[in-house]
Assembly symmetry: C2
Homo-oligomer: 250 residues x 2
DNA sequence: TCAAAAGTGTTTCGGATACACCCATGA
DNA sequence: TCATGGGTGTATCCGAAACACTTTTGA
């Protein structure tokens, strides 16, 4: 569970349980990619540590819709790639929660089980949105994430593992990159997620063999060296690959 | 959510919410293997359809422990291989629940989100345990599972998909077979889970290359043909492979 | 003109697949 | 003795990995 404070007001504390499912929250690990760095969107309360953006589940809302809502509130994006990856339910996962006197006697004092979702978004399209109760909402490099609220570091780690596994079966990049991108950019994305280097030429061969990319006439200019081609995803084939998985894998 | 009726008594209906987390349940897809058939353990209420064995989450209990408890109640087994695979949270997933008048006005009338676990157990060691509220608790062939309660068919399907994926990264069989088993038995297990035939000789080479099996001196006698060797898992190497994953995959 | 990045091959290797032969067993 | 299933070995293929050369660009 995240975003207790951001959501807290008197009414929410008293009547939240009339609108939301008790004991249940959704946390979103929002991945972005910028300047050859994998990023994650974190939220900071006015008082307290950084945490994952999260929310609660309305009484007539699916888990997925709850995650979509949370995501929209933070990034103002719609049609985001979203994947459920794990449910965290250790009874003591919310370390330090009991000390929060504001919650005493409210439904938020209870133990929460949280459903983890990860999202892949286009960094350039996101205007991070702190709400009125939180100080900041910004991107962090994946390697330099600070100590987070509760078990959120663990959730983040698990999200990254899930993403790595999914990488082998699903085409990613469509969601993390701009519409047009270069092959080196896509390669760097894979390298960052997998946390290991990949041979430039073999990568190109493999990714092109998936037949989900279209090479454009344009090249990317402005770089200090030979200008690389721009590519975009073949939407139809990309969708098909998403549905059916990548035969070869990665 | 499953096992509403099996657990129902007046006290549970009235006071269940004092001991269990509301809106939250755990469902277990228990896989077994017998006579070259992948099986799943299903429960039948005295009134109503077949369903997955499930249970509720105690207030100070982890999701995993809740699943372990459920499993123990049905199979009397401990130390079971257990894997969380998905959380099912569609608000209308419990189709037909509203019609159940017994639940009216109780905490069970509410919508439930259920966490799906699958388990791999040694068929020969299980004595299926219907409790006093349920008629039957028996093994079903995976291909001939009947129409189940709520969205349990969907849950079962998803469990099977998860098992298939995990198969590539984790050594299974240790949990589904007896201590000693033959190579053809293990092969049939893989074939049933993957739902496709595998070449006998290539299978043997591959599985042996994983170095997690030990061939025993004994052979299995009584078959109508050449007696196959018996194998067992090398416990240490098996555990290592479970932790670190199978390099080659399957 | 030159260093660095990008485009486009070829070679090599290992694992996966396909396939063949012999052996043991109970009917 | 023979049909069937089980143990073991070899040839082949394909994708992955390793590697080389040329081209373009701004500094």
């Amino acid at each position: 569970m995240a975003k207790i404070l951001p959501l807290i007001d008197a009414d929410f504390l008293r009547h939240g349980q009339d609108h939301y499912l008790r004991h249940l929250s959704v946390d979103c690990v929002i991945f972005g990619f910028h300047e050859n760095q994998l990023k994650v969107l974190l939220l900071k309360w006015k008082v307290g540590p950084w945490c994952l953006p999260g929310g609660f589940v309305k009484k007539a809302e699916s888990l997925q819709d709850s995650a979509i809502r949370t995501l929209h509130e933070r990034t103002a994006l719609k049609n985001i790639f979203l994947q459920q990856f794990y449910a965290f339910g250790h009874p003591l996962r919310e370390k330090g929660k009991a000390r929060d006197t504001k919650l005493r006697g409210t439904w938020l004092e209870d133990r929460f089980v949280t459903i983890g979702y990860y999202a892949l978004v286009d960094y350039s399209k996101v205007k991070p949105h702190p709400d009125m109760f939180s100080d900041e909402c910004t991107w962090w490099d994946i390697e330099s994430v600070p100590e987070l609220l509760y078990d959120h570091n663990e959730i983040l780690t698990k999200a990254l593992e899930a993403l790595r596994l999914d990488l082998h079966y699903h085409p990613i990049g469509y969601n993390l990159l701009s519409k047009k991108f270069t092959m080196p950019e896509l390669q760097k994305l894979y390298e960052t997620i997998l946390a290991k280097p990949v041979d430039r030429r073999n990568f190109q061969k493999k990714i092109l063999s998936l037949k989900i990319l279209v090479r454009l006439k344009e090249r990317k200019t402005g770089g200090a060296h030979k200008s690389p081609y721009l590519y975009k995803f073949d939407e139809a084939k990309y969708r098909k690959a998403l549905r059916e998985g990548l035969a070869g894998g990665f």
